[in-house]
Symmetry: C2
Subunit: 353 residues, 2 copies
């Protein structure tokens, strides 16, 4: 087996031991607190890791796109929640096909989308599970109040082919009390109205270890935790040393004493920023700062580095936001103790719809 | 033929008439000023547009990656410059294969990389064309002074299998006089030393219409001009109405009076910012501001809009940086007068190495 340093660049390296440790740590918290874990596969887009997550105790997985769900169903996953308002006949037809063979769930935050589900799914003996998405402060999708949640839950529960399963939210970061209050109010209101939610599903890796403090929550959907990244580390979830995915790059230029250029840019690392300075973290040169990412160039300031890399040297970069990286590479290298155990296609890469 | 509004979302729409107009306008400037045009195909990654650029008068094309060049050679392109320091045996072997069948050129800004070329290419009857990359102020790759350019040119010219072709730069924006001085000094110094550059190649769309003011330049390598984008429009190159590529999105949520959410995010639009506010321009709602892109959500502030979109409505988004979009979609829709003329694969998408 080749060593990772033999792989041509740019390339993705995934440390299998770190992946296992990250999965087990998070599954352990869920188990200890009686939470169902439903990992979001947008971060890895790989059949093998989705199956590993289920093997380690996940109740199913989360997807954002019908195409991701189709890929994961083909890879053997039996229970998928798509946390997205699905609009239009093309997507509903694909959803219906999935619903025939595996356990599917979807969300809605409005009656237009719910009516679309109701029109497509009309079999009372095989109802589609629907959760109401709630905006608990993140300011993205979601009904705005528990009263709106009740109204939409009533609409869903009134449709013969739909099963009102509960509530779903992508919560704001670091506002646990606010989210707790919102969901608890909604849970009470629904219960008083004979629509007690079976599932209350929260998401996100940054707040994962506060999940149990939001008392109404029964299920959590973290995604990034499998790999961790610079953004998560800057939020206090995990350490840089937990980061399982790195982008292997080659130093192609050293124009000046304090400048290096590597062959990775925004087309391999993405251009999301995070609280830490620069556009990624160099494992071998932790004091280096990636000041700029052009499409295929990463420009690095070496001023603070005692040792400096030579042209031709390979370096590993922890990305700011790892979920973007999985969508930029057709294949990834799975590494165990510095050896490349396998090079595998990213099954759900590019599933845009 | 379907109308573009029938296409499921997210999807890329490319207006063929705007593409032709953009290509002809830029080719016309090159022709009028006696400049060779060598378009960078990183923006479109499509065989058909590379061939159209050559048909309209381009002397060849520019690529950033060996994989892009392999794809374009397979698509019929006969003359390719890779404006990148190529490092390592894997890439040099692939370059050698390309060099056997078509006219190839590469660049270097250091002796390590040049030595790699010299070791691999040793046939004096079929020499590899090499340009010296110059840092004329952009602070990325490139030799730092005309004297360094001379030294490296001498090294290249002394290798039996290499042909010193000239100089290449990716110039800083809006510093024409500085770039002009740098390249003119280098041209003189090289000429005095019997190494007169045959080609002096500059790049970039933002400064394209100042290309002729940099007197030493013989060739220009714009990329983004084929589609234009919000960044180019904000730089004063082209208008939003020239933008040929849009991302078609569906409004999936209207949580509040002034908020809409569309089914496109950083995994379909990229997350580059530009001088204009927000993360993209809505053609149908020009006063809307895309405030946030999550991976699969675009959150839109409608406060300034007189009319507001309904759930299920499709909207077209001009991206901030269009080159990233071509790398995120496996296929694109070619549009003529609102009809989808063809849906084609993005030939060189994901060619990371």
């Amino acid at each position: 087996m080749p060593n990772w340093s033999d792989v041509d660049t740019p390339a993705v390296l995934i440390d299998l031991e770190k992946v296992s440790a990250n999965l087990l740590r998070v599954q352990g918290y869920a188990d200890a607190h009686g939470l169902a874990l439903r990992p979001h596969i947008k971060t890895h887009k790989l059949h093998r890791f989705a199956n590993l997550q289920v093997e380690f105790g996940a109740c199913g997985i989360t997807c954002q796109k019908v195409g991701e769900a189709e890929s994961m169903a083909a890879g053997g996953i039996q229970d998928i929640l798509i946390t997205y308002n699905l609009v239009g006949e093309a997507k509903l037809e694909r959803l219906a096909k999935l619903h025939e063979s595996i356990q599917m769930g979807v969300v809605t935050d409005n009656e237009t989308v719910a009516q679309g589900y109701a029109n497509k799914f009309q079999n009372p003996k095989h109802r589609l599970r629907v959760l109401v998405e709630c905006d608990t402060g993140a300011g993205r999708c979601g009904v705005q109040t528990p009263e709106e949640a009740l109204e939409l839950a009533r609409f869903i529960a009134g449709q013969p082919g739909l099963h009102f399963l509960g509530l779903m939210t992508y919560p704001p970061r670091n506002r646990v009390a606010e989210v707790d209050q919102w969901l608890e109010d909604a849970r009470k209101l629904l219960t008083e109205n004979h629509l007690a939610p079976e599932v209350i599903s929260s998401g996100g890796t940054p707040n994962y270890y506060q999940a149990a403090e939001v008392k109404a929550v029964t299920e959590h959907r973290p995604g990034t935790y499998i790999y961790c990244d610079r953004m998560m580390a800057s939020y206090g979830f995990g350490m840089l040393d937990d980061c399982a995915l790195t982008v292997l790059a080659t130093v192609v230029s050293r124009p000046t004493e304090n400048r290096a250029v590597v062959d990775t840019g925004s087309k391999s690392l993405g251009s999301d920023r995070c609280d830490a300075p620069g556009m990624g973290h160099l494992v071998e040169y932790p004091d280096a700062i990636i000041t700029t990412l052009n499409e295929e160039h990463g420009t690095i300031d070496l001023s603070a580095c005692a040792n400096k890399p030579a042209i031709g040297e390979k370096v590993r970069i922890i990305p700011n936001h790892v979920c973007l990286v999985s969508n930029l590479f057709d294949q990834v290298n799975l590494i165990r103790q510095d050896q490349v155990e396998a090079t595998v296609p990213v099954n759900a890469r590019g599933m845009v719809s």
